[in-house]
C-alpha cells in the first residue's frame, strides 16, 4: 500500500477455482456458458437427437410448416428435416471452428513466442503478420478457400490460416511484456536457456491471453464457415452446414421463411455463446478487475 509495487502478475490458471467463482458472479458469463453447453451438446449428440439423416429427402412433403407432426422445425424445398439439418450443421460449424482455432494456436503461439523473444525474427514474423492483416479476414479466407478447394478440412485450414496473424500479435505482445519481467531476468541470470524461459515462464503466464484470444477466434471461424459455405466455397452439398441451409433457403424466401430462420438462430446462438463467455472469461482472468464488488 505504500512503497510496495502492485503485483503485476496475471492470475495463475492454477487458481481455476477462483476464476470459476468470478465467472459465476457474472450473469452474462453464466448465460454464455449455458448457451455454449446447449450448443456443444446439440453438436455432439446430433446423431442421437436427429430424427432423420441430414441429407434424407422427402419429396412428398416439401415446405412443411414448423410444428408439423414428424418435422418439428418443418422441411425445406427437398423435404429434408430442418431440425436434423440444424443439429448436424451446428456439429459441422463447431468442427470447423475447433479445427481452425487449433491451427491458429499451433502455428500462431510458437511464432508469437519467437517473435517476442528474438528481436531478429520479430522483423520477419511481424511483417508477415502485418501483410496478412492488411487483407480483411474474410477476403483472405475466401481467397485461401478458392485456392484450397471446398470441403470441411480445407475450410478449416483457410479460416485457421486467416486467424494466425491475430494470434501471433497477442502472443508476441505478451511475450514482450513477460520477457522484460524480473522473474525472467532472474531465470536468465540462473543460466536458464531460451526454451526453459519460453516454455516454463513465458508460455504459462501468457496462457490466459491465449485462451481468451481462442474464444474470439472461435465465433469468427464459425461465421466464416457459414460465409464460405453460403458462397459455395466451404462445405459441399449434400453435407449439412448452416451456411448451405441459409443459401438454399434464400432461393425460396418468398415461399417460406422457416428453413432460413432456424439455421440463422443457431448461428446467432453459437456466436453469442462464445462472445459472452469469452468476455466474461477475459474479465475473470484479468488481475485488474480483482474483487472490486460491482
Amino acid at each position: 500500500m505504500t512503497t510496495l509495487a502492485e503485483p503485476v502478475a496475471t492470475v495463475p490458471i492454477r487458481s481455476g477455482g477462483r476464476v470459476l467463482r468470478r465467472l459465476g458472479h457474472n450473469p452474462a458469463g453464466v448465460l454464455g456458458a449455458v448457451l455454449l453447453l446447449v450448443v456443444v451438446l446439440a453438436g455432439v449428440c446430433a446423431p442421437l437427437l436427429a430424427p432423420y439423416p441430414p441429407a434424407e429427402v422427402h419429396f412428398t412433403t416439401p415446405f412443411q410448416q414448423p410444428g408439423t407432426v414428424g418435422f418439428a422445425f418443418g422441411t425445406d424445398d427437398l423435404g429434408r428435416d430442418v431440425w436434423s439439418r440444424v443439429l448436424y450443421g451446428t456439429r459441422t460449424s463447431l468442427e470447423v471452428g475447433l479445427l481452425s482455432v487449433l491451427l491458429a494456436v499451433v502455428a500462431g503461439v510458437p511464432l508469437g513466442l519467437a517473435a517476442g523473444y528474438w528481436r531478429r525474427l520479430d522483423a520477419l514474423v511481424s511483417r508477415l503478420a502485418d501483410l496478412m492483416l492488411a487483407f480483411p479476414f474474410l477476403l483472405l479466407a475466401v481467397g485461401l478457400a478458392a485456392i484450397n478447394g471446398g470441403g470441411l478440412g480445407n475450410a478449416a485450414i483457410s479460416l485457421g490460416i486467416a486467424n494466425i496473424p491475430m494470434m501471433i500479435r497477442v502472443v508476441r505482445a505478451e511475450t514482450l511484456r513477460l520477457a522484460d519481467s524480473d522473474f525472467v531476468l532472474a531465470a536468465r541470470s540462473m543460466d536458464a536457456g531460451p526454451w526453459r524461459i519460453l516454455g516454463q515462464h513465458v508460455l504459462p503466464n501468457a496462457l490466459s491471453s491465449i485462451i481468451v484470444q481462442a474464444t474470439v477466434i472461435m465465433p469468427a471461424a464459425v461465421l466464416g464457415e457459414a460465409v464460405l459455405s453460403f458462397l459455395g466455397l466451404g462445405i459441399q452439398p449434400p453435407a449439412p452446414s448452416l451456411g448451405i441451409m441459409l443459401s438454399d433457403a434464400q432461393q425460396y424466401l418468398f415461399r417460406t421463411l422457416w428453413p432460413g430462420v432456424f439455421p440463422g438462430i443457431a448461428l446467432a446462438l453459437i456466436c453469442l455463446g462464445f462472445n459472452l463467455f469469452g468476455d466474461a472469461l477475459r474479465d475473470a482472468l484479468d488481475p485488474k478487475t480483482v474483487s472490486e464488488g460491482r
Partner: protein, 552 residues
C-alpha cells in the same frame, strides 16, 4: 506554526485551549467489502500544525488520509466515526461538497509523481486548471498565476517550464508541480501521502524543504503520511503511529521517538536504520582482514556505452568503474537513480554486455564468456532483485521456484532437491509448509526470503542484491538485513549490495562504493566513507538522509 499546544492526543473528547482543531478525525472506521481495515482511528490537526501519520504497509494510514478527501478506492466505505473539518462534518458529504473541499480547503500531494499528471496537457495548464475550477482566477489571468506558483515551488525557469509536458520533467520536478497544484488554492490543510518515497534522497530533501517553507509561509497545516519514521521525526510537530488500523501511540515527535511507550513504536524506532546508530549493530566484524585471500569479484575499468541517438554521441552510463568484493564480506554500491549502479549489477550478472574493462570472478575474466564457462560463472553468483512481486514467477510454487536453479544445473534427483529446498527454506526462516504455496499467497518479506533461498540454492560464492530491501517496510527490511548478515556468517557468502539507501548500506556492508553519473566518486571501508566522507557529493548524500536522531 506557533501553536505550541500539545493538547489531548489519543482521545477526541474535549477541545483544548489553543483553539478549535482544523481537522478532527474521531473513531474513524473504514471497511473494504466486508473487511474492516481501519478500526476507530482518532487524530486531530490544529491550524498550521504538522502532523505525521506513520505506519507500515497495511496499517491503514493512506486509507485514513484518503477518507478525509472522500477518495476511498472502489469498494471502500466509511462505516463509523466522524471526520470534522473546521467543525463541519464531512464524513458523508455529497460529491458536490467534496469537490469543493478537495483542492480548495484540503490539498493533496499524491505518492507517485509519475502517474498523477496528465501526460497530454502542458504543466502550466494543469496548474491553471485547478485555479479556474475553484474560482481562484479567471481564465485570462490563470496562466500567469500558474507561472507564479510554479516559481514558488522552485522550478528554475517557470515561464518556459509551464509550457512543457510532464514527460520532459524529472520525478522531483513533477513532484514540485503536484505540490504547486495542491497549494494553488491556498488550502488550510495539505495532505501529503508519501510525497517523496518515489524520489532519490537528495531530491527528497529538496522537495521536503520546499514543502516546509511553503506551508510555513502560507500557514498551511500538513498531514504527512509516511512509512519513514526518520522523515516524520525531521518534519513533524506531532507523530501518530498506526498499526493494523489502530492508533498505537501519538504525541509530540520528540516524546514518541525518545520514549516510545508502545511495543510497536519501540520496534519501529529500533528498526529504523540510522546513520548515527549504524556502527553499534554493524555487519559481522569477523572478517577484519582486507588484505587476505584474493577477492571474489574484481571490476577493473568497467564501462558501458549505449550508441547515442542523434548528435549526442555514445551514451556512457558506466564510466571506468573499478572495485572489489572480498570473500565473505559485503561491498555496497550506492548512488541515486541514473548513477549506473543497477547497470553495474547487471553487467556482473552477465545480463548486459560490457563495453570495456574486465570483471574477474574468482580470478577468471567473465567478460565475453560463453557456453559452459559462462554457465559455471553464473552458478557461482546468484541475484536477488528489488521487487519481490516481480522476481518470482506467479505460476510457480515456492518449491518449484527454489528448486529451479537446481534443476537448471541438474543437481541431485527429485528427492534430493526436495530435501535441499526444505533445508533452504529453513535457513531463511520460512516454515516448510511454504513450499506448497504460491507467491501471491505470501507477503513481501516472505517473497524476498524465497528469492534469497533461491539465490542460495547452488551455494554461490557471490550474491548480487539489487535494491533487495528497498521495496519493504522498515520492520521487514530490518529482518531481511539481519537474515542476510546471519547467512553471511554461516555460509561465508559475499554480497554485492546495490542500494540508494545509505542507512541500509551502513547496516550491512564492509566496503562502500559511491557512484554518481556512471563514475565512482569515492570508495573504501564503510566507517571511512560514511564516517568521514572526503567528497562533497558523499557529504551531500549523507546530509540528505532523514534520521530518527532528534534534533536538539
Amino acid at each position: 506554526m506557533g501553536t505550541g499546544a500539545g493538547g489531548p492526543l489519543m482521545g477526541t473528547g474535549s477541545t483544548d485551549g489553543a483553539g478549535a482543531p482544523l481537522l478532527e478525525i474521531a473513531e474513524l472506521r473504514v471497511a473494504f467489502g466486508g473487511t474492516e481495515v481501519v478500526h476507530g482511528v482518532s487524530l486531530r490537526v490544529l491550524p498550521g500544525e504538522r502532523v505525521a501519520v506513520v505506519g507500515g504497509s497495511g496499517s491503514g494510514k493512506s486509507t485514513t488520509a484518503h477518507a478525509v478527501l472522500g477518495l476511498l478506492p472502489g469498494g471502500g466505505r466509511v462505516t463509523g466515526g466522524r471526520i470534522l473539518l473546521r467543525g463541519e462534518d464531512v464524513t458523508h458529504a455529497g460529491e458536490a461538497r467534496l469537490r469543493r473541499l478537495r483542492g480548495r480547503e484540503v490539498g493533496l500531494v499524491p505518492q507517485d509523481p509519475m502517474s498523477n499528471l496528465n501526460p497530454v496537457l502542458r504543466v502550466g495548464r494543469q496548474v491553471a486548471e485547478t485555479l479556474v475550477v475553484h474560482g481562484k482566477a479567471s481564465r485570462r489571468e490563470a496562466p500567469s498565476r500558474a507561472v507564479e506558483i510554479l516559481a514558488q515551488v522552485g522550478l528554475p525557469e517557470p515561464a518556459r517550464q509551464a509550457r512543457q509536458y510532464p514527460h520532459e520533467f524529472s520525478g522531483g520536478m513533477r513532484q514540485r508541480v503536484l505540490i504547486a497544484i495542491a497549494l494553488a488554492c491556498r488550502p488550510e490543510l495539505l495532505i501529503a501521502d508519501e510525497p517523496t518515497s518515489a524520489l532519490d534522497v537528495t531530491v527528497q530533501q529538496q522537495i521536503l524543504d520546499r514543502l516546509d517553507t511553503l506551508t510555513r509561509e502560507l500557514g498551511t497545516a500538513m498531514l504527512l503520511v509516511t512509512h519513514d519514521l526518520g522523515l516524520a521525526a525531521e518534519r513533524a510537530d506531532r507523530v501518530v503511529v498506526l498499526a493494523e488500523g489502530r492508533v498505537v501511540e501519538s504525541g509530540p515527535t520528540r516524546d514518541v521517538l525518545t520514549a516510545p511507550r508502545h511495543e510497536y513504536t519501540r520496534r519501529l524506532v529500533a528498526a529504523a536504520p540510522s546513520i548515527a546508530a549504524g556502527s553499534a549493530s554493524g555487519p559481522a566484524r569477523a572478517a577484519e582482514t582486507p588484505t587476505g585471500p584474493p577477492p571474489v569479484l574484481a571490476l577493473q575499468g568497467v564501462s558501458k556505452e549505449y550508441p547515442g541517438r542523434g548528435r549526442g554521441g555514445p551514451l556512457r552510463v558506466v564510466d571506468d568503474v573499478s572495485f572489489e568484493v572480498s570473500r565473505g564480506r559485503t561491498t555496497s554500491v550506492v548512488g541515486e537513480s541514473g548513477s549506473g549502479k543497477t547497470t553495474v549489477a547487471r553487467m556482473v550478472l552477465g545480463l548486459v554486455p560490457v563495453s570495456s574493462g574486465t570483471i574477474r570472478l574468482d580470478g577468471d575474466d567473465i567478460v565475453g564468456m560463453r557456453g559452459p564457462r559462462l554457465r559455471a560463472a553464473r552458478r557461482a553468483m546468484q541475484p536477488v532483485f528489488q521487487d519481490p512481486y516481480g522476481s518470482l514467477d506467479p505460476m510457480f510454487s515456492v518449491e518449484r521456484l527454489v528448486a529451479e536453479p537446481l534443476r537448471i544445473f541438474g543437481v541431485g534427483d527429485r528427492t534430493a532437491r526436495a530435501a535441499r529446498v526444505r533445508e533452504l527454506l529453513d535457513q531463511v526462516a520460512l516454515p516448510a509448509t511454504t513450499a506448497q504455496q504460491f507467491p501471491n499467497e505470501l507477503s513481501g518479506g516472505q517473497r524476498q526470503r524465497v528469492a534469497i533461498a533461491r539465490a542460495l540454492a547452488l551455494d554461490p560464492a557471490l550474491v548480487v542484491c539489487d535494491e533487495a530491501v528497498s521495496a519493504l517496510d522498515v520492520l521487514v527490511q530490518d529482518q531481511i538485513l539481519r537474515l542476510l548478515r546471519t547467512l553471511q556468517e554461516q555460509l561465508g557468502v559475499s554480497y554485492l549490495f546495490i542500494s540508494h539507501d545509505l542507512a541500509v548500506v551502513r547496516e550491512i556492508s564492509h566496503d562502500v562504493v559511491v557512484m554518481r553519473q556512471g563514475r565512482v566518486v569515492e570508495q573504501g571501508p564503510v566507517e571511512q566513507v560514511l564516517g568521514s566522507p572526503s567528497t562533497p557529493y558523499t557529504r551531500q548524500l549523507l546530509a540528505a538522509v532523514p534520521t530518527t536522531a532528534v534534533p536538539v
